[in-house]
């Protein structure tokens, strides 16, 4: 199973890297989430010039740390280095390094063959990752985290799992879309059809808001998890290492703020995916199944009539 913290951002960035060139631009905007009025300084990813994968990753982690507004317990630079290192370790561990390097090299290429190869790598990546994100294993993982933590509500881990499952849907969507893109490139290669490449460009452009939404979600997700980890670590090296978590070590207001941002970005991503491919959300709930029946009874019990 994919370990959620740093790898999520690593994989997402690898996908982004292959889908559209980016140039980060900092913007300030005000967002109202529940009771909070938040002034954000956010790095929006605007397509402009080519970036190396390393620069892109560094940029994402800068955003992650900038989003946490509590006084830092550790040197920001040390946290940043630790997170980047963890990502690189993850890339190596999951055999992604070669493919990302190949993708970096292919970004210079403008040939149809190069683009087609880039798509092949992306399809492999999305397929591989999606298989690793098994629903049953993920729920075991988050329940285990809940049992090994103190003073957290189960709904917090439920939201984290919802994030992972939405990310899986994002991967499924990207796999589907990349297959179409690859088909268009192949059609163009075989018959030199110009219209195929025009469609290819348009389709890539259409995907950009979804990939942007996923980047913003990953940043919010990583900020929340990093905040919880920082508060529960005595040394920088303990961040994202296995340990029990205690909610009492967090500043409640900051945790709630980061959680609200996380949920709003998650809902935004889910809505974008739903708009593009609603059939990814098709499922039938069987209320005769005992646990579903229990949930139904319990929710209706709390609703007066």
């Amino acid at each position: 199973m994919i370990h959620p913290p740093t790898l999520g951002i690593t994989f997402s960035s690898a996908l982004r890297y292959g889908l559209s060139p980016i140039k980060p631009v900092e913007e300030t905007f005000i967002e109202k989430i529940g009771k909070f009025k938040l002034v954000h300084k956010i790095t929006r990813l605007v397509p402009k010039k080519q970036y190396s994968y390393e620069e892109y990753l560094a940029l994402l982690y800068e955003d992650v740390l900038r989003a946490i507004s509590t006084p830092p317990k550790f040197e920001e630079e040390a946290i940043y280095k630790h997170l980047v290192q963890m990502s690189y370790d993850g890339i190596r561990e999951f055999g992604l390094k070669d493919r990302i390097e190949r993708m970096e090299a292919l970004r210079e290429a403008r040939s149809m063959k190069g683009i087609a190869e880039q798509h092949d790598i992306l399809i492999d990546l999305t397929k591989e990752l999606s298989t690793m994100m098994n629903r049953e294993e993920q729920s075991r993982f988050y329940v285990d985290r809940f049992f090994n933590s103190s003073n957290f509500q189960l709904s917090y881990f439920g939201e984290l799992m919802r994030g992972s499952q939405t990310y899986k849907k994002f991967l499924n969507l990207m796999e589907y879309e990349t297959r179409i893109l690859r088909g268009l490139v192949r059609a163009s290669m075989k018959r030199s059809v110009r219209s195929a490449m025009r469609k290819h460009r348009e389709r890539r452009k259409e995907l950009r808001p979804i990939v942007d939404a996923c980047d913003l979600f990953n940043t919010a997700s990583m900020s929340l998890k990093t905040y919880v980890e920082i508060c529960n670590s005595d040394e920088v090296e303990q961040i994202f290492e296995p340990k029990s978590l205690d909610a009492k070590k967090l500043e409640k207001q900051e945790f709630q703020r980061l959680l609200s941002i996380y949920i709003s970005k998650l809902d935004h991503l889910r809505d974008r995916i739903f708009e593009r491919k609603p059939d990814l959300f098709t499922f039938r709930i069987d209320f005769n199944q005992p646990i579903n029946n229990m949930i139904r009874k319990m929710i209706t019990l709390t609703t007066p009539s």
Binding site: G158, N292, T302
Partner: protein, 270 residues
């Protein structure tokens, strides 16, 4: 022919939840067919949207907290007699006793807080039934089980819960559009003074503000008689705003004048 005045319905949390779980199906079907026939837009206020999320999460947290307690106490009890903790079929009786303890604690907590304990007790009974049923199924396949089985049970609950939450959100979006409205605190207080809880007052006022800001015929629909529908006459007398069961939604939208006269005449005869 004069054009029909714009109209809409605001939905309460009870409508969204009942609709999803098939409660009051006949009434909902009738309302939905009217909604489709006359193309009546439906909205939910941000306060209703928030309450739906809270209700769903509260149930998940209730399950989490109680399974966590049961697991801890089960392990403690078993550790007295066993080195490696294994559960056998007889341990269903231990679950009975431990759930009984939780039940008493809930009653005591509710008594101290001056609240009726029924809801939480019934929630616990539902959880207890599911847990025992789960263990019965597992004991059919194994004579002894590890404590990890509680983790398996809770993981299955989380998995199913998230699927249901997703399905609920999709259905909610299909049924109604969310409108961001901030209800005026002073008027919320006035509505509360009638005896309506604050959350419900915020839902009603959101719909009311929408109506008066845009001059659109609006009714607030609810299945919650205890906290909302039973106050329909008082709300109308004070604010000229209609609240009703979805069964009557269409009649309220088309016959506000008649409703006003009925309420007035009943008021004067009292």
């Amino acid at each position: 022919m004069p054009s029909r005045r714009q109209e809409c319905c605001f939905l309460d949390t009870s409508i969204l939840i009942s609709n999803f779980f098939g409660k009051f199906k006949d009434k909902m079907d009738k309302f939905l067919s009217m909604k489709a026939k006359y193309n009546i837009p439906c909205y939910i206020s941000s306060s209703v949207d928030e309450e739906c999320k809270e209700k769903i999460e509260e149930v998940l947290d209730f399950i989490g907290d109680n399974i966590l307690l049961l697991r801890m106490r089960l392990a403690r009890e078993k550790a007295r007699t066993q080195h490696e903790i294994l559960l056998t079929e007889e341990d269903i009786l231990l679950i009975e006793l431990l759930t009984g303890d939780l039940f008493k604690e809930l009653s005591e907590k509710a008594r101290l807080e001056g609240e009726p304990p029924e809801i939480e007790q019934n929630l616990l009974r539902s959880l207890e039934y599911s847990l025992v049923d789960f263990f019965e199924q597992r004991f059919k396949e194994n004579t002894s089980l590890s404590m990890k089985e509680l983790e398996v049970f809770l993981a299955k609950v989380v998995e199913d819960f998230l699927l249901m939450k997703e399905a609920f959100n999709i259905q909610k979006k299909e049924l109604a559009q969310k409108i961001d409205i901030t209800p005026e605190p002073d008027i919320v207080k006035d509505i509360c003074d009638l005896g309506i809880p604050e959350k419900d007052s915020r839902h009603i006022l959101s719909a009311m503000q929408y109506k008066f800001d845009r001059n659109i015929l609006t009714v607030f629909l609810s299945f919650d008689y205890k906290h909302v529908v039973n106050f329909q006459e008082q709300i109308y007398l004070h604010w000229k705003f209609q609240v009703c069961d979805p069964l009557y939604a269409f009649y309220h939208l088309r016959n506000e004048k008649a409703f006003e006269e009925l309420v007035d005449s009943r008021q004067s005869s009292n």
